[in-house]
């Protein structure tokens, strides 16, 4: 590992404020050539804001950006590009209907003498770059026809085509399979060998320890430390991130399991699932494990009235209820915290309190007329219980970090005083601190007698939080485990369908 004297890019004392929020408060960071710097922090720590400043989307209120030790400004995204900074985002921004070569060279395509795009040269250079990163892709193929991993390669090729010196990777592995992740690691190695400085943002510690050379930790918009990975321990980084040590990861309390809260019998759907039968009790946390595509979310959405089952019946408590719409589900006391927070959970553009009270308007209003005082009171109760971090309750929910948006969605449902709460991947993509808060809260709810279904693909979470686990495979219930039977091996075997005799 080489230790370069001057960083390619340095940030000093960067401050960025938004109405009511100090997103960044005097942070610093150094990116060295040929090295991977991991930026670590909880959601809301300021990671996204720093990326936007580095790519010229936001301008800092105070502080310096130094390129090769000289102060520079990035007033526009183009300026950042010229300085050699490029970002590969969580959801990479590329053009589906253009070819690989066009995507790589958009904005800086090679020209002929007449000023027209030199297609031959573009194809040739695209092929060179792709070969350079070991990507076996045809430059003439339309992007629409490629998988996510290949699209990432195109994004990386694009980054290289503008001769980037600093490559920002913002949770690049979030949507990738194991094999694709391994390929990405190789690629990061190649970029390092070419002397690029890489800023790597990730929530996954195994990945950070695997590929990063240095680390920088932000917390609540402040810089809390940096150092070399070789000298770092996981416990130390976690402590810096959350500002306290997370000793007990799964705060599952012993539950007092009560009467059946939800009974599902023979639920079926023409294409998604079949023969789903189970009983959920008051005070119980029932885990649903399975591979992606096993039909878990589809079952939950049918229970919540989003889709209609072709067969089957539900009983809530002692009562048979037919649920054909979400409104009926909410009225029956079943609520659902969706996996896709941005699209299905929080309503961005509406203030926090309006998000929270939306399904409870009947209770806060009088004769159909809004009563804001009641709405604020209800919101205050539940957001405080969930330890929401926000500037004010009339702040746009879209301005909150992912973890805090999730808290708003959960608060929204708790405010309806449900009997059954279904949480679909409740901690996916949120940081350790918020994760612990959500887990803590789930335990508390179950202890209060609420019936909880938790769909999760993380085995430690399923095992740590559930009283009982149902494993689904290909739209059917493959197995059910409780007590000593709940082992990682049993879950995985049932999910992939090997050794049914286990």
């Amino acid at each position: 590992m080489q230790h370069a004297a001057t960083p390619v890019l340095s940030l000093r004392g960067i401050v960025k404020t938004f109405p009511g929020v100090r997103a960044l408060d005097g942070v610093q960071m150094d990116l060295h050539p040929g090295q991977v710097t991991a930026l670590i922090g909880e959601n809301g720590a300021g990671k996204s804001t720093i990326v936007k400043i580095l790519t010229g989307i936001y301008r800092p209120d105070e502080g310096q950006i130094l390129v090769d030790g000289t102060e520079t400004h990035f007033p526009t995204a183009q300026a950042a590009g010229h300085a050699g900074v490029t970002a590969i985002h969580q959801e990479t921004v590329l053009f589906d209907d253009m070819t690989v070569a066009e995507n790589i060279f958009i904005g800086h395509a090679p020209r002929t003498r007449l000023g027209l795009i030199d297609r031959a040269a573009m194809q040739r250079r695209a092929r060179d770059i792709l070969t350079g990163i070991g990507a076996d892709l045809n430059p003439a193929v339309r992007l629409r026809d490629l998988g996510i991993a290949s699209k990432h390669l195109v994004a990386i090729a694009r980054a290289l085509s503008i001769d980037a010196r600093v490559v920002i990777m913002d949770e690049p592995t979030a949507a990738l399979s194991h094999k694709e992740i391994a390929e990405l690691y190789d690629l990061v190695g190649k970029l390092k060998a070419q002397g690029k400085a890489i800023l790597f943002i990730s929530h996954k510690f195994d990945e950070i320890f695997r590929i990063a050379d240095r680390w920088t930790v932000f917390r609540d918009g402040r810089f809390v430390g940096e150092g070399l990975m070789t000298a770092a321990t996981e416990a130390e980084l976690v402590r810096l991130m959350v500002g306290r040590s997370v000793d007990q990861i799964y705060p599952k309390r012993p539950a007092r399991i009560g009467a059946p809260a939800l009974t599902v019998a023979g639920y079926a759907h023409p294409t998604e699932f079949d023969d789903i039968t189970f009983t959920l009790h008051e005070g119980e946390i029932l885990g649903f494990y399975g591979l992606i595509g096993a039909g878990r979310s589809e079952v939950m959405q049918a229970l919540f009235g989003i889709t209609q089952p072709s067969k089957g019946a539900t009983r809530i408590g002692e009562e048979v209820r037919v649920i054909r719409s979400t409104a009926q589900a909410v009225a029956a006391g079943i609520v659902y915290v969706p996996e896709d927070r941005g699209r299905q959970g929080a309503i961005k553009g509406l203030p926090i309190f309006q998000n929270v009270t939306l399904p409870s308007l009947k209770r806060t209003s009088r004769d159909g007329f809004l009563r804001l005082a009641q709405e604020f009171a209800l919101t205050r109760d539940y957001t405080q219980r969930l330890d929401l971090r926000a500037a004010s309750l009339d702040q746009d929910v879209g301005l909150l970090s992912g973890g805090n948006q999730q808290k708003v969605v959960i608060a929204k449902w708790l405010a309806t005083r449900p009997r059954v709460i279904i949480l679909d991947e409740p901690t996916k993509g949120i940081d350790i601190g918020s994760k612990a808060a959500v887990h803590d809260f789930m335990s508390e709810l179950a202890a209060e007698g609420l019936a909880v279904i938790m769909v999760s693909s993380e085995i430690p979470e399923v095992l740590g939080m559930s009283d009982r686990v149902i494993v689904m495979r290909a739209g059917r219930i493959a197995a059910e485990f409780a007590g000593d039977q709940m082992t990682p091996e049993n879950l995985v075997r049932a999910a992939v369908g090997i050794g049914d005799a286990a």
Partner: protein
């Protein structure tokens, strides 16, 4: 529940007053006042109360519909068939009138036709999930087409004298019946949008219809209701306009839909849905009325007038965008 588990978050950071002062509506008000002053300086006839009363016909009928369309646009939908609904309602009233119907029947038929048209649009959009822009471009041709078939180049004339009250009557002094309807409609729609659960749902749907459904809102029902309301307001506008003109031709209210949408957008309603206010629409309607009337007093030809209105619209829409670009 009030134990100090979490930190205290204030309800609001900026007071409602500060928000109001910085709002789009405040800007519209300033522009409207400026135009009012400019008009009264430019023409000595402008400030005459009877003139101003006449001028109100420039916007009252369109504004009635604009209130309902504002709600539709906030919810993320649109209705471009409103002018044609007027034509069809007016035609139905004309047919009934020729058959000897009296004023009460005419009014009921006008409203019923509007509601029926709205229900048809609403059914296609809410029940069958078709995009409203396509559906209402279709019904725009359909509804007016029926009027053309019924009327050809002809016209219905000879409405009963009592029917004239809606478009030609005065409640007292210079206050026309239409102005009163406009005022009531503004209050009713303002309360509906800003003070009721229904209005809150409209905003929620406009910002994210999927998440609204995932929050237990009957999205389709709300949208259907909005189309019904738009149909109803178009029916009321049809009664006023037919009464004012005293006749029905198939070309009646041609081009209304664009002026209605212009008023809504000028009023600060986001064409993408999710935000806007009734006060804004009221101000925009008055502003449009002032501009066209003022230009009329100065003998500016109609073509030039529409150019000026178009430029005004673009200027007002571009302003906040430029403002936020300068601030970033």
């Amino acid at each position: 529940m009030t134990e100090h588990l979490g930190r205290q978050i204030p309800d609001r950071l900026t007071s409602p007053l500060t928000r109001a002062l910085k709002s789009w509506e405040a800007l519209l008000l300033v522009v409207a006042v400026l135009i009012f002053i400019a008009n009264s300086l430019a023409s000595p006839y402008f400030l005459d109360p009877w003139n101003l009363s006449d001028a109100s016909f420039n916007f009252t009928e369109k504004a009635m519909i604009a209130f309902a369309v504002a709600l539709l646009i906030i919810s993320g939908e649109i209705d471009l068939s409103v002018g044609s609904i007027i034509a069809l309602s007016s035609t139905v009233m004309g047919l009934a009138m020729t058959a000897g119907a009296g004023t009460p029947v005419l009014v009921l038929l006008g409203l019923a036709t509007g509601l029926a048209c709205g229900a048809f649009n609403g059914l296609l959009v809410a029940r069958f999930g078709l995009p409203s822009i396509v559906v209402t471009i279709g019904t725009m041709s359909l509804f007016r087409g029926i009027s053309y078939i019924v009327l050809g180049d002809g016209a219905f004339t000879g409405y009963p004298a009592s029917f004239g009250w809606f478009g030609q009557g005065y409640v007292f002094w210079v206050i026309t019946v239409e102005l009163v309807i406009f005022g009531f409609a503004a209050i009713i729609f303002g309360v509906l949008l800003h003070r009721t659960n229904f209005g809150r749902m409209v905003y929620a749907i406009g910002n994210n219809a999927v998440a609204a459904r995932f929050s237990g809102i009957r999205v389709e029902r709300v949208k259907f209701t909005l189309f019904l309301l738009t149909g109803l307001m178009s029916g009321i506008a049809a009664i006023c306009l037919t009464s004012r003109l005293g006749s029905t031709r198939p070309s009646i209210a041609a081009g209304f839909e664009l002026e209605v949408v212009t008023i809504v957008v000028l009023g600060g309603v986001s064409i993408l849905g999710g935000s806007g206010s009734i006060i804004g629409v009221v101000l925009a309607a008055i502003l449009m009325g002032l501009v066209t009337f003022g230009l009329g007093l100065m003998n500016v030809p109609g073509i030039v007038m529409s150019i000026i209105v178009g430029l005004l619209l673009i200027a007002v829409i571009a302003l906040p965008r430029l403002w936020s670009m300068a601030r970033r």
